[in-house]
Amino acid sequence: MLGYRVTCPGRGTPEWTRNTDTDDGHGHEEYMSQPIRLKTPLSDEDVERLKAGDRILINGIIYTGRDAAHKRLIDLLKEGKSLPFDIKGQIIYYVGPTPAKPGQVFGSAGPTTSYRMDAYAPSLIERGLKGMIGKGMRSDAVKEAMKKDKAVYFAATGGAGALLARRVKKAEVVAYEDLGPEAIRRLEVEDLPVIVVNDVRGNDLYIEGEKKYKKE
């Protein structure tokens, strides 16, 4: 996957373009890098290069799944059966979208809170899952699994459902249609904006960010 790490020229992504005027005017002294375009599927080398705090634009195929779908995936693994899609190198987005309106590719689709998937995530990471997109802090067990088997956790902006839906170019159900918004869908995304929270070195932006801005 050499050459994936392309600096974003700002094509079609005005909200991610760094506004230096604002930064200069309000004393934002820290350096904030340009977003990095990332193409799925991900290799170990891809995820090793990501650091907590990196802004990422995901391109390619990702899968959706939340509470009920995760339970079914883990039940399959317990029974020694294969998963309904090849999880190697993939990203799962924790999301339960609104129903798509006629003519719309995908309904509003912001992330759901991730801790409810903590019990299931390590088994999936062990089988090759390379990324998860959600919101909120992960358990120590998930963080350990990410370090051990090389995976990352991304945060998407909670509540930005309309904006995120626009980055979905194609959507199809691959399993568990009966679960409605919780079915597993295969999405083709273009420049889906996320932030790396947990990297393979054990960094956690939730902890470090809060520490940095805490005032006594």
């Binding site: 309106k101 912001g110 909670g158 509540g159 309309a162 939730y206 960010g209 809060e210 801005y213």
Partner: protein
């Protein structure tokens, strides 16, 4: 006595459900602007910009601001000189919610507590009715998302805890909630009354326009002190670090029992959605 048809109320409820979920209030957008001026984290500023852009897209395309289109919480102020005709008010409101969530392509998020089986139409709605003077009906719809509601608490302080006890509990609640309720949040605080009344006060306080002052100078001062303490926590937009953990603290207070000191904290995510109609 003025006659109002329940069918008209059903229609209003339907429209308000759709409007509340797609059209974020100008007061919230202005609060984002103010927060951008004060936010020290560049990443935090980017997130605030993203939220503003999201609200613009939602309004323009008439799609939900957030995929969690919430529990439909309905406040009704029923004028005592109104005679409702053509049906049952409660059922008329439930029907309005049913239609609004269906026709607006909103997510149905209500289920059986044990089996988790979805009711399929986002009912039942939570309805709070108050009889007031006059011959009008005011209906307010405030869809409430699960992530922020889960971070809310009621506690029964002891009278000796005093105002310091309130500050301590509210700030601690926001701290423990961290990134879960989708900061920047609005913190609704209900003080006094009974156990359930404190919670209702906290929820009602969220209906106040962002940026407005509390009419009680003492509570206004307390709101500002608690907000300052919260925004020192460092949690920031989406919990990724920064100044803007909360956009506002709103307090409603009423007298309580001589033995009690009830306190409720209702956390609201940045998608502070509510719309009202007067019939």
């Amino acid at each position: 006595m003025r006659e109002i048809s329940v069918k008209l109320i059903t229609e209003k409820v339907r429209d308000l459900c759709m409007k509340a979920n797609t059209d974020l209030g100008e007061d919230v957008l202005q609060a984002f602007d103010r927060a951008m001026q004060e936010e020290e984290s560049s990443l935090g500023v980017e997130i605030l910009k993203e939220l503003k852009e999201n609200a613009r897209i939602a309004k323009e395309e008439n799609v939900p601001i957030c995929q969690d289109t919430g529990f439909a919480v309905v406040f009704v102020e029923l004028g005592q000189d109104v005679h409702l005709t053509g049906g049952n008010l409660t059922e008329g409101i439930q029907e309005g919610v049913r239609q609004g969530y269906r026709d607006g392509y909103l997510r149905k998020s209500i289920c059986h507590p044990f089996t988790r089986a979805n009711t399929g139409d986002n009912t039942p709605a939570i309805i709070h009715t108050e009889v007031v003077p006059g011959d009008k009906v005011k209906v307010t719809i405030a869809p409430k998302g699960g992530g922020s509601e889960n971070m809310s608490r009621v506690t029964m302080l002891t009278p000796s805890d005093g105002v310091e006890g309130i500050k301590r509990f509210v700030v601690q609640r926001v701290k423990e909630s961290g990134s879960n309720p989708c900061p920047p949040t609005i913190v609704g605080v209900g003080i006094g009354g009974t156990f359930e009344q404190a919670a209702l006060l906290a929820k009602k306080s969220l209906l106040r326009s962002l940026g407005s002052r509390n009419p009680d100078p003492e509570l206004d001062q307390l709101e500002s002190e608690i907000l300052t303490a919260i925004n020192k926590l460092g949690i920031g937009p989406q919990g990724l670090g920064g100044r803007t953990t909360s956009l506002a603290v709103h307090i409603l207070m009423m007298p309580c029992h001589i033995a009690s000191f009830p306190l409720a904290v209702n956390i609201q995510c940045h998608a502070q959605r509510h719309k009202e109609a007067i019939i």
